[in-house]
Point group: C2
Chain length 241, copies 2
Amino acid sequence: MSTQPTSSVKALVFDTFGTVVDWRSSIAKEIGDLAKRKGFTVDGDKFADAWRGGYGPSMNRVRTGELPWTRLDDLHRVILDKILVDFRITGLTDAETDALNRAWHRLRPWPDAVGGLTRLKKKFTIAPLSNGNIALMTAMAKHSGLPWDCILGAELVRRYKPDREVYLSAADFLDLEPGEVMMVAAHVGDLRAAKALGLKTAFVVRPNEFGPAGKPDLKADASIADLSAKDFNDLAAQMGA
Amino acid sequence: MSTQPTSSVKALVFDTFGTVVDWRSSIAKEIGDLAKRKGFTVDGDKFADAWRGGYGPSMNRVRTGELPWTRLDDLHRVILDKILVDFRITGLTDAETDALNRAWHRLRPWPDAVGGLTRLKKKFTIAPLSNGNIALMTAMAKHSGLPWDCILGAELVRRYKPDREVYLSAADFLDLEPGEVMMVAAHVGDLRAAKALGLKTAFVVRPNEFGPAGKPDLKADASIADLSAKDFNDLAAQMGA
């Protein structure tokens, strides 16, 4: 009998925005590039923060039942239409706005992400467990070379994290016990919800997720995280992969 | 404007048992290897045919509502328990029977499958659209190196092909129109169902699926298949990949 709390783990599932990919600098670059092409000016970092800032409230409208199930791509578009007004960006065609909305399909991984996932995949099943919809996550994986074994997440149960159904669906679809699945996230709230349902948990610190003035989670205590890692290579090493 | 009927295609989804993997020789080998280890005799080909023979009737019990939603792994186990009796195979522990049931997780691809899929993946999104459950399809992909972009299929909508929900779910999850998705199969019935719902269709002939005495579909006329290919490399070539 091993005393390692993580020795039962057969699959690792990953929060994606912020944990696997750097949404802030990716979105800032996309809007910056569009601004150059179209001849407007914009503070890309502020634009990224505003767009991401609409994410939690939008999902909560779905989680509380105010909105029916709505995919994240569609929530992103509603938020985008609003912030384009707030930032006084005009003159985009619908096709240009749609292409901008798909910036979330092209988010760039943190430098250690692809290498760490590739190591982990040799020993474990790996999948995203994101609030991003399947089309978004599939496109992102193709764009950035994320070597997932399958795509899991919110859309498959039409619930958004931290609703319990999302976490439990990962074990169910993989035909594993919750304790055989490890949730990996840079966000304590995500891990807390997973832990309460019996999943194993790994905290990976992403100090730059919110930029220089941001306030990321910098650690997770042992009641929340079975393991803490400084990046995905460290995670792979600690998991023996 | 292209006149190619397949020029709209952005994703290819694949029937798997028989189309991507050679279930018959794989299952025959698994039961043959087990027989050697355990000291019993069995006609592996007949055993494989009997196991696969239970597949359609089992799924139809789910499709008609006689059984609630039941995953293919669990249907396979019910059939297995019956044919072990029919073949007078005794003395397997529950763990050994469970390991044998997972032979379907280890089916070997046809020789052209991995190479053809790898080519197609560069130009298209590729995913299985199988009656196999997610855990089964994920394990098979890991075991055999099938380079899927995501895992789609029956379990995500709790319906079995040829129920329409399965085909339409592929377009829905990928955020595509049905006509942007091509169903690839060695079975005319599968293609007919997909075609009727507006999907594009490709027939790939698998003359050895059912063994030397089998009666596979050898061709699909133009009312059913937009394209016919002799293997996955031919499919990739015809799709410009």
